[in-house]
Symmetry: none
């Protein structure tokens, strides 16, 4: 019986966050009004506010979800394709990015730049971003260490530095895809491989 309530709450929260995400995808965080979210969610104002204390809390929840998606995907990647070269890990990640971007219902990756912007002036969004990106970079770090153990990568270099680069390529890819629109996991990893000589 408490379980029903708990599940119900979670379902409702998801319903609201999804609705909000749809709005944000179309209009952006700040042009999305609570009226939009309320209408889109199919709930009443009061109901929405009983699940989230403020618009800001909804925004955080969206940012959280958006930033989580990529990091979470990594679990699958690491589990299924071990041992992974750094380049392969990056490629798998970018392919995952494209896969979720192309899901029906709108390109969710468009929310990412807004979450980044939010993090610049919103403590709670910054924390979320730090957590999620710390996690994701940690995954690249693990891959790097394994590669160093393998001898695939120079073991004398601080693996953190290498993880910084690998991780950094992800937003570099996402942003370029959203703004210039002409990058693919293929082109990107090919370019990187070429640089690697």
């Amino acid at each position: 019986m408490p379980k029903v309530t708990r599940e119900h709450r979670t379902a409702r929260r998801d319903q609201i966050v999804s609705a909000a995400q749809r709005c944000v995808n179309e209009r952006g965080f700040h042009k999305t009004t609570m009226a939009d979210v309320i209408r889109e969610s199919g709930l009443s104002a009061g109901a929405v506010y009983s699940y989230f204390k403020s618009k800001e809390e909804i925004v955080s929840a969206i940012a959280d979800q958006a930033l989580s998606t990529i990091a979470e995907s990594f679990e699958g990647i690491l589990a299924t394709e071990q041992p992974l070269t750094p380049l392969a890990a990056l490629r798998a990640t970018l392919e995952h990015v494209v896969r979720i971007a192309e899901q029906p219902g709108g390109d969710i990756t468009r929310v990412a730049p807004q979450a980044w912007a939010e993090a610049m002036h919103n403590e709670s969004s910054l924390s979320i971003a730090q957590d999620k990106y710390g996690l994701l970079r940690g995954h690249f770090l693990a891959v790097t260490r394994r590669a160093q153990a393998d001898g695939t990568v120079d073991p004398d270099i601080d693996p953190e530095y290498i993880a910084q680069v690998l991780f950094g390529l992800v937003p570099g890819f996402v942003l370029q895809r959203l703004i210039l629109g002409d990058v693919t996991p293929e082109s990107f990893t090919t370019g990187l491989a070429a640089l690697l000589k």
Copy 2:
């Protein structure tokens, strides 16, 4: 007399954009109100509105300026340090980024994620971003072509792909620096060099 007026207009516009940029750095695009900009610029509401038709125009001007800074720097880089390896070009760019970020008056690079976010839902910001980033990537493309001519880089790979990667590393660095705060041009290029074997 027309010249004086022209210069005067330009000076005033700069005065307003600078004021607005200071506000945006502190509060973000959307929490910055016209009242903030008006106060910070030391002008009157009427005066500000005689130079910019709307808040959106000011936002675009800031985004323009913020996104220009890095691309513009490239002219100097290409001019003074030729011939440049791709890695050296990237390093020079990142060092330039850090230099402007550390200028007194606040880290201007904090505006970049906001400009990216804006581009997601604002045609004119998107155009600006496409132009500026097209330009910047073009510079990396030039560097790449030269390196391919040199034989430093595999000439069989589409240089666009390589430029995508080099360019992509810039926002990857900026964002990581702003959110996780632990990357330096040194660490980043060291990491990349290590990957390059």
Copy 3:
């Protein structure tokens, strides 16, 4: 069985009014929300609404109870200490006021000014106030008449006028105690006695 139900209803109503009174004491009539009352009463929203048709009805019940307290006390005063001089009646009343004000659970007299304010714009609260205060003033009138019969007070003056003054001193005392905080039954009656020469 009907009696049990009746008692049960009364107990529940009291439970709600007490809870509401605690809230009102802390926050005032208008900042007290039904959610506060519901939480404080330990009942459900539906339960509360089955005992009171509206918030206004609860407010009236509190006002009623608050204004009744003093008037009711008079019964005891008149019964036990006859014959009473007007000054002694006033003193006994003020002492009663202080006694209930100092009861644990918060100073109930703080509700009085709110009931007065409510009476200014709420017919039903006005009626209650008129009833209760008519009653209280009536008690002072009775005391006055007895004093006039005794010869203690000038019998040629309309006793209503004297009752007006005696009664008027009660809110004058309560308000002064709540706002300026430095009156006591002792100081007040001493002052009045001095005026009486």
Copy 4:
């Protein structure tokens, strides 16, 4: 030129406070909405909010004005009718109360109970009430001291106590007039005189 602005500001503030007072007289503090005040003042929402930061600030301004009126009147009373017996001072005060209550535009004294209620749960209103009522009671204290010097009043009694009683009769009169509606300065002072033997 600054003077014009200053006067203009004051005039606008008065315009708003007067409008708000008319609303509060009709509907009470809490049923008065900002929309009411805005409509009644003939200004726009933005204009009203440029003179007062919040509804609460307007409420305080009304309370301030309402509580000031009586205390201020005293200056005139003390100046014109010296030396005053305590009874005469009280009578002059009550007559002043009735005079302002009967001014066209609604009985302003109806605001007093609301200001008292507000003071129970609003620090700033409490301060105002303490100030204004401290002042008024101070006037009664001065009158008392003079009477004690004259020998009209027993000089051995703490004049503060007597001032408490004289002052207390004012809200006692106001409230009774508003709720029971049958007191006059005549009846009240006659009653008090009779008590005084």
